[in-house]
């Protein structure tokens, strides 16, 4: 299996904040045209790709959205004031380039008049390089912007924006294209608003009422100096979540994931941690309840413009999705 750098770059650099994911949705719809039996967006904006099958309903979920900033005010100097959309880390974004839907950019700056140790959104502003009247022409209260970054890769690693969770989108797209014979009726859901309590996936879960849901997302690792307590490192395989901040994985799903990986000879890293949540936690609570679990691509520097993951881990994730489709847990 060869790493599809072109696809990963397109996904990583696409503009898609929580609340305005349609450009990413269009990109994904174009990738899956003619690949699956049914391809549509639901009322919430999720892209749903259906590979019809005879067995139980299996839903994979990867979110399209990234954290973002929302413009709340344009001041007399033409600077933009912002608030957060999702769990942004202000310190990670200070001095970063912010990208808007209309293609314009600005630089996020710390307002030193309010300097203190813990920065919050009220102490930041965006300088778009425009005087006030021009700024009011091109920007408005309600605009969303994301951190701009560029795609960079080495033989084994990738540094790019939005690995959380465009790597998950990559995995679902590549697995869908592989079309391995499956014992399930498979739904690939590319969800909206995951960064805001998994709202999109919960809507999709309610509509589709799957029997099983597996979220495909990123997880933190312990092999940098970020200081996370988790038994996962880059390059050692797909993370399989026993528990995260949002979900204790259903024992049958966890078992199925481990068994499928073993059968197909895929390297995995089981983990349990207090950090991070995925679409699975939200979907598990929908309708009459859904057996849910999550697999994760180990990623450093999540929620910064330069997230880092190992290509082999992402390819292992694609293989694991295919193995689950083929073998379930047997």
């Amino acid at each position: 299996m060869i790493f599809n750098s072109e696809l990963m770059e397109k996904l990583a650099c696409a503009y898609g904040p929580s609340g305005n994911e349609r450009h990413v949705a269009e990109l994904i719809m174009a990738e899956l045209e003619g690949v699956v039996d049914e391809l549509y967006t639901d009322d919430a904006g999720n892209v749903i790709a259906h590979r019809k099958g005879e067995g139980r309903k299996l839903m994979f979920s990867a979110h399209m959205d990234t954290i973002a900033l929302l413009v709340t005010f344009i001041d007399e100097k033409g600077f933009l004031r912002v608030t957060n959309v999702g769990g942004i880390s202000p310190t990670a974004l200070i001095s970063q380039r912010m990208l808007f839907e209309n293609g314009r950019e600005g630089i996020l700056v710390l307002d030193k008049r309010g300097e203190k140790k813990d920065i919050d959104c009220a102490e930041m502003y965006i300088d778009t390089g425009l005087p006030a009247e021009e700024a009011r022409r091109w920007f408005a209260v309600g605009d969303l912007c994301v951190a701009k970054g560029s795609y960079y890769e080495t033989d084994e690693y990738v540094i790019c924006p939005a690995a959380d969770n465009r790597t998950g989108c990559y995995a679902l797209i590549e697995a869908a294209k592989a079309r391995v014979p499956s014992v399930f009726d498979v739904y690939y859901v590319f969800s909206v608003l995951e960064e805001i309590n998994a709202l999109g996936a919960r809507c999709a879960g309610k509509l589709l009422a799957p029997d099983i849901c597996v979220a495909v997302d990123t997880t933190v690792s312990n092999d940098s100096y970020e200081g996370f307590e988790i038994s996962v490192k880059l390059g050692s395989g797909v993370g399989i979540s026993a528990k995260d901040a949002g979900l204790v994985s259903h024992y049958s799903v966890y078992g199925m994931l481990c068994a499928a990986a073993e059968k197909a000879g895929i390297r995995t890293q089981p983990y349990a941690c207090k950090l991070g949540a995925t679409d699975a936690g939200g979907v598990s609570k929908t309708g009459r309840g859904v057996a849910a679990g999550a697999i994760s691509i180990p990623t450093r520097y999540i929620h910064t413009p330069g997230e880092c993951f190992c290509k082999s881990d992402l390819l292992d994730t694609v293989r694991l999705i295919e193995a689950v489709e083929q073998y379930a847990g047997s």
């Binding site: 609340g19 919430a44 959309v85 709202l199 809507c203």
Partner: protein, 337 residues
């Protein structure tokens, strides 16, 4: 405008009956069919044609306190339902079970400690004084579990009206005024209960109605004082009703709000975008899950001093809000699903 009558009634979270009964009587008088569901929501039908199932909704409940204990000194301990800044409560007039008057005060011992001077009073240091000299005297007049609201008052201050629950009831008042006008487009009106606990009543309402589009009407807290920097004011009194962009639980459909604003502008209705959010309020997040994919617009009437006994709004904004609510019924029937 029935805002004054609505505000003077007690309507605590979970005990909204007086407000509910008032609204039902007004609806009965004009022959609007309504029923009450198991939680206490009023579900009323405004007759008329509609291409989509529309729902307009507003919460009925206000800042609610409940007596949790009676001290040996005769002071009452109390708890608060929902989110409320305790520093607003110091020195407030309150009314217990709509009959016993009291004042919220701070026990003097706490005020004397040097390190506590200038700090906000913690909620558990506040007590209600009903002028009882002992526990026995207090118990003769008030029981544990007694319900407490701010003392009812409603006044005109220049262009504003101010009083208890003005912010809590403005949504109901706008919706009721709209229904009484018998607007042409058909929609379901839900006057919901338990709004202050993350919209539990609203969620149940949405479960039953299963609308294609929802407009929630509430107050929009504004801090438009000169001492507050413009970027932190959130909304400006007098600039018209607000559309919210997000709450603590979700980002709303800003593109839809912008289209609604343009439609409002073409009819000469002023609106603004609400430029702040309280990250602890999950508001409509749960209700949104009850009907996935429905269009949501949340509109707020700008209010100062929310969740205090003197919440205030501008009558001009109020009138614009009723006009906006009616316009939105027409706007949303035309919007594609």
């Amino acid at each position: 405008m029935l805002l004054k009558e609505l505000c003077m009634l007690p309507g605590l979270t979970g005990y909204e009956a007086p407000v509910r009964d008032f609204i039902r009587s007004r609806l009965d008088e004009v022959g609007i069919a309504c029923r009450v569901d198991r939680l206490g929501n009023i579900i009323a039908e405004n007759p008329g044609p509609a291409d989509r199932k529309l729902m307009l909704t507003a919460d009925m409940d206000e800042v609610s306190m409940i007596v949790t204990g009676i001290e040996s000194s005769g002071w009452l301990k109390f708890g608060i339902t929902g989110h409320l800044d305790p520093s607003v409560l110091d020195s407030c007039d309150v009314l217990i079970e709509n009959s016993v008057s009291g004042v919220i005060g701070v026990k003097p011992i706490h005020a004397l400690k040097r390190e506590e001077r200038g700090k906000p009073v913690p909620a558990d240091a506040l007590l209600i004084d009903i002028g009882a000299r002992s526990r026995e005297e207090a118990e003769a007049r008030v029981q544990i579990g007694a319900k407490v609201t701010f003392a009812p008052r409603f006044r005109q201050l220049g262009c504003l009206v101010s009083g208890k629950a003005v912010d809590a009831r403005v949504g109901c008042s706008v919706l009721l005024d709209l229904l009484l006008k018998k607007p042409p487009i058909g929609f379901t009106a839900v006057f919901s209960v338990i709004g202050r606990l993350d919209g539990k009543g609203l969620k149940v309402g949405v479960n039953q109605v299963q609308p294609d589009a929802v407009v929630q009407i509430k107050a929009a807290e504004c801090a438009d004082l000169d001492t507050v920097k413009p970027e932190r004011q959130a909304a400006v009194l007098g600039d018209g009703p607000c559309f919210f962009m997000k709450d603590g639980g979700t980002v709303y459909d800003i593109a839809l709000a912008r289209r609604a604003r343009r439609a409002a502008e073409s009819e000469g209705i002023r609106t603004q975008l609400y430029r702040y959010c309280k990250t602890e309020n999950y508001d409509i997040h749960y209700a949104m899950l009850a009907k996935p994919g429905a269009d949501w617009l949340v509109m707020g009437v700008p209010c100062r001093y929310t969740e205090s006994p003197v919440a205030a709004l501008s009558l001009e904004d109020y009138r614009e809000s009723v006009r906006l609510a009616e316009m939105l019924t027409r706007f949303l029937t035309k919007e594609e699903a």
